[in-house]
């Protein structure tokens, strides 16, 4: 049921792909691009590897270049038919990677891939039926043998893998044709590719155990090591070509789930899988190396034993032969070799053998059969039955009796696979074999391997669980954290856009207000003045006409002019406020030119501009050396003009005014102080003074109540700040902090 849903979702995904890529994958597109590039380079290099190996396999059939097709002379080379299949599949895949193929070429490629699949499937079938289909006789009519393994013939395992690989390539090709099933075909191809990779890896690992493991006793052709390597690479090409979204790769792809993070279960499974895989690989390699080492050790041991026994027997036989000449004189029937043999048999009675299955066998050839002379450890018969010389049994002994010295893995007289050292005994025309059952060597490896695997699995599970136990809370915390952050960022972005709109609205309102609200004021003031003119005219007319004006006089002289004066002064005040608002809105919009400011220069300019007022107020102004700061010169000028203006405006009339401007650097900021001995600000008012239109003493002096508001606005735009210290009737200190040049670094 769930799978059904998955398939449906995949289909949806395929249809909505452009949409999806637009929305959810936009963020990860850079990452995806990197991934695609990686996949492409892996594909191309693996593909090239496959083709090169196949070409070398072909070349090896040219006399003298034998080693090219096989990494060791004891290993079978790749069959020519295999090499051809590799070259065809590799070329198709290469064409697919490098360019989008045309319809005709897709048809051609598909036909070739299908043909390879069918051919290799027939090859496998032929093996199971037990009939060679003789496809390859056309390529290499007279094939050779390596041991008893025929070479230059495709192995059934190779055929099986070619069937899979051909189908996978076919699926990848179909993807270009049918867009509806693009995703599912990708999954199919990717999975088949994985199967090819896994199987070839298993064959490769098996070679690590030594070729006997594969070549063994059977006459079936195993997959060549080079073939396994080529399949490994071909599988990789198929998997990476199946696309980032296909099953095998998407398992590893975490970015796909960036919106919906991998579930803990999925993570656990993936981690366990990877760990188990890694452990298995490491164990396989280690066991393989140890096994080879053990086999070699045993081989050497057996060979040494066999040789020393043979030499010993020869020595005894020679001694017997020497002494027999004297004895022969006395006893005609005396046979030296017989006496040697009986001595050996006698000695052997007291020696059962080595290890659990290890033993010596001694035999001679009698016509077409091998006659064993020693009692054998295995089997109950006193005297072992002779073995036919042409049979498969007693292979080591056959070697020894043929005068060959060496080691072999083969069947002994019982039909058991043994590791044996064979040595001819020259003097008596005997053969001696020291052998040990292969199972005796294998069993501990198998047992320890299984034990180690079980332990490793346990450790991996415990380790993974532990890892999860430790990491899960962290991951969960990170996840919730990131989710929270994401939410917060979204909220902030929303707020920020809202704020921007609001700000724009506000700017607009201020602009419109200061613009349109002034319009009526022009009329109010203008027509009030017109009324004043009219009143004057009226007054003059009354004076002219001598109409008694006792009752009208106060109206014309006082009531109406007073009313008009109030109207006009209010209009004027309102105009001042509106002008101030406009100024504020403009200073908030002014563009900034941040530069290093020489404050001594700037303050002297500010003071110059207010020279008249300073002289008029009779203020004693002192300015100390000022550190530079970073800001917009025009705006900073405005700040200090306003502060100086305030200081001048709120001087105490009772005492001579004194204003001091000083500066220092504190905490990497330039802090300036404008200090006066004016009326000061009560503690309760100190925060209000920075508010818009707040005026300390509305009745006294002029001003819009905007000076400090503008100062605050400018400083916030220049990353500066302002604060005040003041004692009523003693004076105020306004501090301005701005970034120093040190912040620049």
């Amino acid at each position: 049921m769930k799978q059904q849903n998955d398939i449906e979702r995949d289909a949806d995904e395929a249809i909505n792909q452009p949409l999806l890529e637009d929305e959810s994958e936009k963020a990860a597109s850079g990452h995806n691009h990197d991934q695609d590039f990686l996949l492409k380079s892996v594909s191309v290099s693996c593909d090239a590897g496959t083709i090169i190996i196949a070409l070398m396999g072909m070349l090896s059939y040219i006399p003298g270049l034998g080693l090219l097709g096989s990494i060791h002379q004891d290993y079978i080379p790749m069959a020519p038919s295999t090499a051809i299949c590799f070259i065809i599949l590799g070329s198709i895949l290469l064409a697919l990677i490098l360019q989008s193929p045309s319809k005709a070429s897709i048809l051609l490629y598909s036909a070739m891939a299908a043909l390879i699949s069918i051919f290799s499937a027939l090859e496998v079938a032929g093996h199971f039926i037990g009939r060679d289909l003789n496809f390859e006789d056309a390529l290499v009519p007279n094939f050779g043998y390596l041991g008893n393994i025929p070479i230059a013939r495709m192995s059934p395992s190779t055929g099986a893998l070619f069937t899979l690989a051909g189908l996978a390539v076919l699926a990848l090709l179909m993807r270009h044709k049918s867009h509806d099933r693009k995703i599912s075909l990708g999954h199919f191809g990717g999975c088949l590719g994985c199967l090819v990779v896994g199987t070839s890896l298993a064959f490769g690992l098996a070679y690590l155990y030594g070729s006997p493991f594969l070549y063994g006793q059977n006459t079936t052709i195993p997959m060549a090591l080079t073939t396994a390597g080529a399949f490994l690479m071909l599988g990789c090409v198929i998997v990476s070509n199946a696309g980032r979204k296909s099953v095998p790769l998407s398992l590893l792809n975490t970015t796909k789930h960036s919106n919906n993070p991998m579930s803990a279960r999925r993570r656990f499974l993936l981690l366990t899988l990877i760990m188990v895989g890694a452990c298995a690989m490491v164990m396989a390699v280690i066991t393989a190396i140890l096994y080879r080492y053990e086999i070699n050790q045993q081989r050497e041991m057996l060979q040494v034993t066999a040789k020393s026994q043979a030499r010993l027997i020869e020595a005894v036989a020679r001694f017997d032969a020497k002494t027999s000449s004297t004895i022969k004189n006395a006893n005609q029937d005396y046979d030296a070799s017989f006496s040697t043999l009986s001595q050996i048999i006698d000695a052997h009675e007291h020696y059962e053998g080595f290890g659990k299955t290890g033993e010596f066998t001694l035999a001679r050839r009698d016509g077409e059969s091998i006659i064993f002379v020693l009692r054998h450890r295995h089997g109950s018969v006193e005297r072992p039955l002779p073995v036919d010389f042409d049979s498969d049994l007693a292979e080591p002994m056959r070697m020894a009796l043929q005068g060959l010295s060496g080691t072999i893995i083969g069947l002994d007289y019982r039909g058991e696979t043994v590791l044996a050292a064979h040595e001819p005994v020259a003097v008596l025309n005997l053969g001696i074999v020291a052998k040990i059952d292969l199972t005796e060597i294998n069993t501990p490896f198998l047992r320890s391997g299984l034990t180690a695997a079980a332990i490793a699995l346990f450790i991996v599970l415990v380790g993974t669980a532990l890892f999860f136990w430790i990491s899960n809370p962290i991951i969960k915390r990170l996840e919730t954290h990131s989710r929270k952050l994401e939410k917060e960022i979204k909220e902030r972005a929303l707020l920020s856009t809202q704020l921007k709109t609001k700000n724009k609205e506000l700017e607009q309102i201020i602009y419109v207000a200061s613009h349109d609200l002034r319009s009526p004021l022009v009329n109010i003031d203008g027509y009030s003045k017109e009324l004043e003119y009219s009143i004057d005219d009226l007054r003059r007319e009354f004076d002219k006409t001598q109409i008694p004006t006792e009752t009208l006089a106060p109206i014309l002289d006082h009531d109406m002019p007073d009313a008009l004066r109030f109207i006009r002064s209010s209009a004027s005040k309102m105009d001042t406020l509106l002008t101030g608002l406009l100024k504020l809105s403009r200073s908030g919009r002014a563009s900034l030119m941040i530069d290093l400011i020489d404050m001594n220069d700037l303050i002297s300019k500010v003071v110059e501009a207010s020279e008249f007022q300073i002289k008029k107020a009779g203020v004693e102004l002192s300015i100390s050396e000022l550190p530079p700061c970073k800001g917009d010169a025009v705006q900073v000028n405005q700040v200090f003009s306003n502060l100086l203006g305030n200081a001048l405006q709120y001087l105490d009339a009772e005492r001579p005014g004194a204003i001091r401007i000083s500066g220092r650097i504190a905490n990497e900021r330039s802090v300036y102080c404008v200090e006066d001995n004016g009326i000061g600000i009560a503690q309760t008012h100190q925060n209000n003074i920075f508010e818009i239109f707040h005026r300390l003493n509305p009745a006294k002096g002029e001003g819009e109540g905007l000076g400090l508001t503008i100062v605050t606005q400018i400083l916030s735009r220049l990353s500066g700040n302002i604060w005040v210290e003041s004692i009523p009737n003693e004076g105020s200190r306004f501090y301005v902090a701005l970034p120093t040049e040190m912040n620049k670094k």
Partner: protein
């Protein structure tokens, strides 16, 4: 060319066009121009569209006449078509672009002033709320009009 052909009219024969949506402002301008001693004809237009119709001889309203000198007092904020748009169209027209245009506006926003000057206005006057300032401004305008040679527009007849 046309100035030579046509009569050189006296400056008081210049017609003052006032494009101003606020009737009050228009009235004040009129009153003060008269008080300042200007006796020229004065035509009032209530919005940007009206003045454009007049200048470009469109619609049912009055149309400008050939061979008459005009000076345009233009408010920036007007319904339908704004003052800057009117200025733009006037300055883009081959016949009209030499007509003096004086912007009369409530704001002295430097950006707006700069924009108008870039478009080619002859003068820019902020409507001061303070009456005396306003009178001074209008007087200056009167002085300006009496000094400046106002070109006549002969419109289509020259084409």
């Amino acid at each position: 060319m046309n100035e030579i052909i046509g009569d050189t009219r006296m400056n008081h024969e210049v017609v003052i066009l006032v494009a101003e949506d606020d009737e009050g402002h228009a009235g004040l301008i009129k009153k003060n121009l008269i008080r300042a001693g200007l006796v020229n004809d004065l035509q009032h237009f209530k919005d940007g569209q009206e003045i454009l119709d007049f200048l470009f001889k469109k619609g049912d309203g009055p149309h400008r006449q050939s061979g008459v000198s005009y000076v345009l007092l233009l408010d920036i904020r007007m319904p339908k078509v704004g003052g800057t748009q009117v200025l733009e169209q006037v300055k883009a027209d081959a016949d009209l672009h030499r007509m003096p245009v004086i912007m009369i506006t409530t704001t002295n926003d430097p950006r707006e002033v700069e924009q108008c000057h870039n478009l080619g206005c002859s003068n820019y006057i902020t409507k001061p709320v303070n009456y005396t300032d306003f009178v001074n401004a209008i007087r200056q305008l009167g002085l300006f009009l009496s000094v400046v040679e106002i070109p006549k527009i002969n419109g289509i007849s020259t084409v």
